[in-house]
Symmetry: C2
């Protein structure tokens, strides 16, 4: 179970890396995927901040102001998910520890494990949704932003897609144990759509970036 | 120019994210790519640390011990590059500030700019090289490591590839201004090989991971 007392955003970057490398259960791949998405959102915001207030880019100030607000909102969401994921599996672990002596206890335990698994899948699923949003914002940044920072928009899309791929693996490892067929079906479909959109956006933004070098 | 006093590994994770999002020149996409590679290397080390010392995985203890040492070496290298990249462009900026009144001064300034651009390209090129290494190590982790942590090996490969893609964009933005044709040719060729290997390893490790879920 994760150390609920550790709020990683306030800890040194090296502690986050050290804890990720250790055999501690948190942070794991889900939290790290959210962190990578947050880094991508930060780069999109940087492109905006290198565009705002510059005479040369006067005609895009309004949309870029809107873009930076969206990028910072995505970053805040991913920073929260980076933390949420460190405890996302705690419910499953607690449920497995429930007594299983009577049939009644066994049924209650199974239900609690299943509810915990859905929570554990929902957190990385949300990482995937916001990761795709980072890719969308990176495309606008590559199109409208200061061309001197276009590689940062391109890297933003790469990191948004990486967050989606990483989150998707953590959704899937939970899906294999979830017995709610409706949840598994709708989540699998949504995941497929998110992965496809992220992959297509990454290719598109990399093409825009290379064309502007 | 970057604030040479800021050693990011010792700063709160949120400061690194905030500075990346700001209009400060550092950390930019190169440093962030190194950070993402370091996170990938950390996940590979985690898979190893969840495999070592377990009876169940007795037959792979020796190769996994070797693997964790390599993953931690790659992480240390990428943590250093995360920092190095924040000053990689300083030489170019300093060179552009050199006087250009006489023909002699102009020639010296041009030479200094060119030397600076090669330094600025070499740092992200090294990020790409170590990023590919992270993908290679992730494959071994997916093959030999505790299958309960296989998604972390998969995410390690995704992040290694993302570091290569991100680093490559930062190499390329410098290459367009470098006049040393031999450097441009050999670096372009190496970059193509690194991108191809990373892409192929990412697909392979994702396939191994999905097969083990």
């Amino acid at each position: 179970m994760s150390d609920g007392a550790t709020i990683y955003a306030g800890e040194p970057l090296r502690k986050y890396l050290d804890d990720a490398a250790s055999n501690k259960p948190a942070p794991g791949g889900g939290s790290v995927s959210a962190c990578v998405g947050a880094l991508g959102a930060a780069l999109v915001a940087m492109v905006c901040n290198l565009t705002l207030g510059k005479e040369k880019f006067a005609d895009v100030q309004a949309p870029v102001r809107e873009l930076v607000a969206k990028a910072e909102a995505a970053r805040a969401r991913l920073e929260a998910l980076l933390q949420d994921d460190t405890v996302a599996y705690d419910g499953v672990i607690a449920a497995y520890r429930l007594p299983k002596d009577s049939e009644e206890e066994q049924a209650a335990r199974t239900a609690a494990v299943q509810a915990g698994l859905i929570v554990a899948a929902d957190v990385p699923l949300e990482i995937c949704r916001v990761g795709v949003q980072v890719c969308r914002l990176a495309r606008t940044a590559a199109e409208l932003g200061n061309p001197q920072a276009v590689t940062d928009a391109g890297i933003g899309a790469v990191l948004g897609e990486a967050a989606v791929q990483g989150g998707a693996l953590n959704v899937r490892i939970n899906l294999v144990s979830i017995t709610d067929e409706e949840y598994v079906r709708t989540t699998t479909a949504e995941l497929g759509a998110l992965l496809a959109e992220a992959s297509s956006l990454r290719a598109e933004v990399l093409a825009i970036t290379l064309a502007k070098l």
